[in-house]
Symmetry: C2
């Protein structure tokens, strides 16, 4: 063993990397992605917004793709779900959160901005799926699985499908393809339809 177990890594010689530059570069990347899309996130524009020189970027990342994939990995989904309430209320709040997050000027605009790149660039897709989609989805899936066991959901329900039902419709509405806008009561109406189904009314508690 050449290195003692107690060794702190010694600080290397010359001037240390600026931590604030690290953050400024990643922030600028995400902001540009969200505000103006993938093509507008040029190295020039990122460096200018971050207030750094281009070589300060290239000293940290080997190229534009690595930078963007890394920046996407910095997106952390905050995953607080108040499980105390009854399931219906929890799901209602989840839909509200989901629509709110996608109106967020930073976080919510990233996916639409990189969607076109996802197909061509699997590393972006993996980064986004791992850091943004999967964590949020796992929390909801686990919650729904417990609900199925407790009998609060239809027996044998496919939780993946339920997640899609909760997320798919509001996601469609956020694409610029001429669909009706999301209204104030959108979450309530959507969940009611999902909960009771679209089939003709049977015996149901009002």
């Amino acid at each position: 063993m050449t290195a003692p177990a107690t060794a702190k890594r010694r600080r290397p010689r010359g001037r240390p990397r600026s931590r604030s530059a690290d953050k400024a570069i990643v922030d600028a990347t995400l902001e540009l992605l969200a505000e103006r899309g993938f093509q507008a996130a040029t190295i020039d524009a990122i460096a200018a917004r971050a207030g750094v020189g281009r070589n300060t970027i290239y000293r940290r990342w080997s190229g534009k793709e690595e930078l963007i994939a890394d920046a996407i990995r910095e997106l952390s989904a905050d995953l607080d779900m108040n499980e105390g309430d009854d399931l219906y209320s929890v799901l209602l709040e989840w839909i509200r959160d989901f629509t709110r997050v996608f109106s967020d000027p930073l976080f919510g605009r990233i996916l639409p901005a990189v969607l076109g790149e996802l197909e061509r660039n699997p590393s972006f897709a993996v980064a986004y799926a791992d850091r943004v989609v999967r964590p949020r989805r796992e929390v909801l899936v686990a919650l729904l699985e417990r609900a199925v066991e407790r009998g609060e959901l239809r027996k044998g329900a496919d939780v993946d499908q339920i997640v899609d039902l909760l997320a798919g419709p509001p996601f469609l509405r956020l694409l610029p393809i001429g669909l009706p806008a999301v209204t104030e009561r959108y979450a309530e109406e959507l969940l009611e339809t999902i909960w009771y189904g679209i089939g003709p009314t049977l015996d149901r508690n009002p």
Copy 2:
């Protein structure tokens, strides 16, 4: 009146525009969009695939964006819905069609390919919404409204929401964000969930 009512438009002097070049250019544009995305659909690549010179394109369109918007407008949704069957079967077939269309190597790959451009370029979004989304949606909406009137759907159901429930979940599955793949029985399972709802089972006919 300067032009007689019976007049065919006289053919202008010189060599006429090649109609087959028109078609070849638009086809090549759509194919490249679908296969390799927006960025790969360069004028050079389009001209090469169409087997025409670049100025043959510029003689017809003022630039790349006009060409692409025009090509998108050529996408026609075929809208056969066999209304004879019962509603449940019709909706089942609709979901199957929808997932099939989005695996279509031409038609279905266009939207993912231009999604990133939609936000930046409203004319693409308008073209796609007008020619692809709206016609398909209108047929389904009309069918659902008639079903509501006949009592085949839950009273007071919001048909826009139902369309989203039918289209949103399969659309999510087709994005490269790590979701489970669409299986053979996907449409059946999805419609069953939508039809009966996710709430705990009440009295229901099996």
